[in-house]
């Protein structure tokens, strides 16, 4: 009964978010995010029906839709990258390279797994596979977050909300899957409640931050900067060289 109540509240919040997104035309700015929400809402409705009428098939439906939502959810990370770095081609270029290195490192690590390599990893139990994929997503989000901080990328309230909510969702998923792995019996009774409650928390954040459309802060770049990148690099290097020399004097004094 409690499960169905939590579920119903979740579906209500998803519909509310979709309606507000349509009213505020936020779906134009974040199409993948709203596609994800639509998918999750339809999925919840179908899953609730299956749970109620044909419970024997619930777990099959759950895992299939869970992986589909994971795939669409990965698109949200791409959308965050695309929207946030639209006005910053330099930062976007650096981010692409850093993400490439991070994904390359993850792939290399997967290949070096001793017990059977990447195919065994992929064939692992569904929970572990989902946890591993969520960890990959989490690494991508952490990398993006660090680069956004480094380049002082301004966020609007909407983008900040999507990023924070989705990061929280992924973080909580990783914790849940890890706990599931290490203490199956103790966690099992709470499992069916913990996940939806955490999801409601994330939905609450999204409802709060996506209620109104909030445009991204405008940043006016220096007009000369495009032709002066080489000069900028040379100036910074020169200043660093001078600072290093001063530290050298201090050490040798």
């Amino acid at each position: 009964m409690l499960n169905v109540m939590i579920w119903s509240v979740g579906i209500f919040l998803e519909i509310l978010l979709l309606v507000r997104g349509f009213q505020e035309k936020l779906y134009r700015q974040f199409p993948i995010f709203y596609l994800y929400l639509l998918f999750v809402m339809l999925n919840d409705v179908v899953s609730m029906g299956v749970y109620r009428w044909v419970p024997n098939y619930y777990f099959q439906v759950y895992w299939v839709t869970q992986f589909l939502s994971l795939a669409i959810g990965s698109g949200i990370i791409f959308e965050i990258y695309r929207v946030a770095l639209r006005s910053f081609p330099g930062a976007a270029r650096m981010t692409r390279y850093v993400l490439l290195i991070v994904f390359g490192a993850i792939f290399a690590k997967a290949l070096t797994i001793p017990s059977g390599g990447v195919f065994t990893w992929l064939a692992a139990a569904s929970i572990m596979l989902e946890r591993n994929l969520r960890i990959v997503q989490a690494l991508a989000i952490v990398t993006l977050g660090l680069l956004f901080l480094w380049y002082a990328i301004p966020f609007g309230k909407n983008l900040k909300g999507i990023l924070f909510g989705y990061s929280l969702f992924i973080g909580l998923s990783i914790v849940q899957f890890t706990l599931w792995r290490y203490s199956l019996e103790q966690i099992k009774p709470f499992w069916s409640y913990a996940q939806p409650v955490c999801y409601l928390l994330v939905m609450g954040i999204w409802v709060r931050t996506l209620w109104f459309a909030d445009s991204l802060p405008e940043v006016n770049p220096d007009v000369q900067i495009e032709i002066d990148y080489e000069l900028l690099m040379a100036t910074t290097r020169d200043q660093f060289r001078k600072t290093l020399a001063r530290l050298g004097w201090a050490a040798r004094a």
Partner: protein, 182 residues
Amino acid sequence: MMQGFAFVAVAVFLVVLLLLSAGHEKDEDLTPGAKRNRGRLGSADALQSAELVLRIFSPKDREFIELRHSPRLQRLYQEERRKVALHWVRRTSREVSRIMRHHRLNARYSQNVNVAAETKLFGQYLELRFLCGVLVFLIQLLGPHALVDLASYTGKLYEQLGRTMRDVSAVSNVASSGDAVP
């Protein structure tokens, strides 16, 4: 497991060094005279002078104070010079951060960012911040003339070690010659 702990330990150590190098100075650390001169001395130009750097870190003033044979004067000098040296290193560290911030805030707009050059520059930035952190750590631990003192201490230690080694080899020579006697 141990590798993971070592990695975390190194990361924590680096973060501590960075925090140390960027640490805020408290007003109570400065004398009224120093507070009055703060604006003048704190300007970026004041940091550029080689004379100033050499004057702060040179042991000549300490040698002069030591000639006075006054422990109180020596203690005062040590405290004041430590504050001045820390102030200079922290200002330099902040200057490095300011330069890098200016660079990245401008580079983020550029269409033709050179990824390799940016990575190298980031490495230089980390190196400078690390050096500042090490200097702050050494100055706080050993005083304003930390590196000179450290060098002279290492020299003494090396000398002592050499002497000990000579003594040990002499003893073992004696012992081995004693063993040879039937």
